[in-house]
Symmetry: C2
Subunit: 154 residues, 2 copies
DNA sequence: TATTGTTATACTCTATAACTATA
DNA sequence: TATAGTTATAGAGTATAACAATA
């Protein structure tokens, strides 16, 4: 982790600070999850399926800010690993996504590994500071949804 | 922005909270920066060049956790836009990267646009809470570097 | 008409490996 | 030997566009 000189004018931008923090955490999580052959973002998707059993692919995709087509590939990958199952959905158009027993076990193992590695990363923060940070991030996310999403590329 | 049911066990993982916050901020920044035809990550790179004039491509890449080859394409893109220039580096092997006047102007316009849109996004937080959040994120990042990076894919 | 899943195709970003020049 | 830049190639992840089935 190389750190160049900082930009004072950007320190007041939440997006900038969060991006750099995410860079550090995501790369660490990538290394930790490498033995499980899954990316941090896909683990998040897996957990979302677990906690929202029966949800459809499009709904899952919207929660992750990806479109139907991308969600399709995502679910294909998770299903291919035996971690997620497509079952009948609420109507005949949609699938219902469910976590498998193997998925449950995989999540537990991965979360364990992540928790352990994070203990190292968060050392610059005291216990209280970490809790405060987690609380503030959750509060930020709970805010009003941003305006309807425009295409990413163009 | 769709929000599914949350996973209580993950709320204590900083990586999880930061990833979801980043998802929200990055997608918003993508939309805001779309007229400028640049991604949030590349804007960060552009700012890093400005604040570290003369730095080499490999150094820049390391700060962004990408390798030399990827940094190469990144700099190609920024140079192609006329925002960055390759000049002579500290030795004959390396380039020295410098921001152009056009790059300076582009940064100013983009930061303005981002600041405005963020004002909407951070509404769930009070002024004090936002400052506290920024401070804690900066403190987290200032911590010890994570262990040497392993390849992402395999 | 609108929505869900699906498929085919293309784009962005990053990685690996090998090469050249320099240190 | 090690490092900086470069090039060619491949992979992951996402997007668009079009189609079929269902609402």
């Amino acid at each position: 982790m190389i750190r160049l000189k900082e930009a004072p004018e950007l320190e007041g931008l939440l997006g900038y600070q969060v991006q750099l923090a995410w860079l550090k955490l995501d790369n660490n999580a990538r290394d930790v999850l490498a033995p499980f052959d899954i990316s941090p973002a896909r683990l998040t998707a897996l957990v979302m399926v677990r906690d929202n059993p029966g949800c459809g692919q499009t709904t899952l995709g919207r929660a992750l800010s990806i479109n139907r087509s991308s969600a399709m590939k995502l679910v294909n990958a998770l299903e291919g690993r035996g971690w997620v199952e497509r079952q009948a959905g609420r109507d005949l158009r949609s699938n219902g996504l469910y976590l498998t027993a193997a998925g449950e076990q995989a999540i537990a193992a991965m979360i364990d590994a992540l928790r352990e590695s994070e203990d190292q990363l968060v050392q610059p923060l005291s216990h209280d500071e970490l809790n405060q940070l987690l609380m503030l991030l959750a509060k930020f996310r709970r805010g009003p949804p941003r305006p309807a999403r425009v295409a990413r590329t163009g």
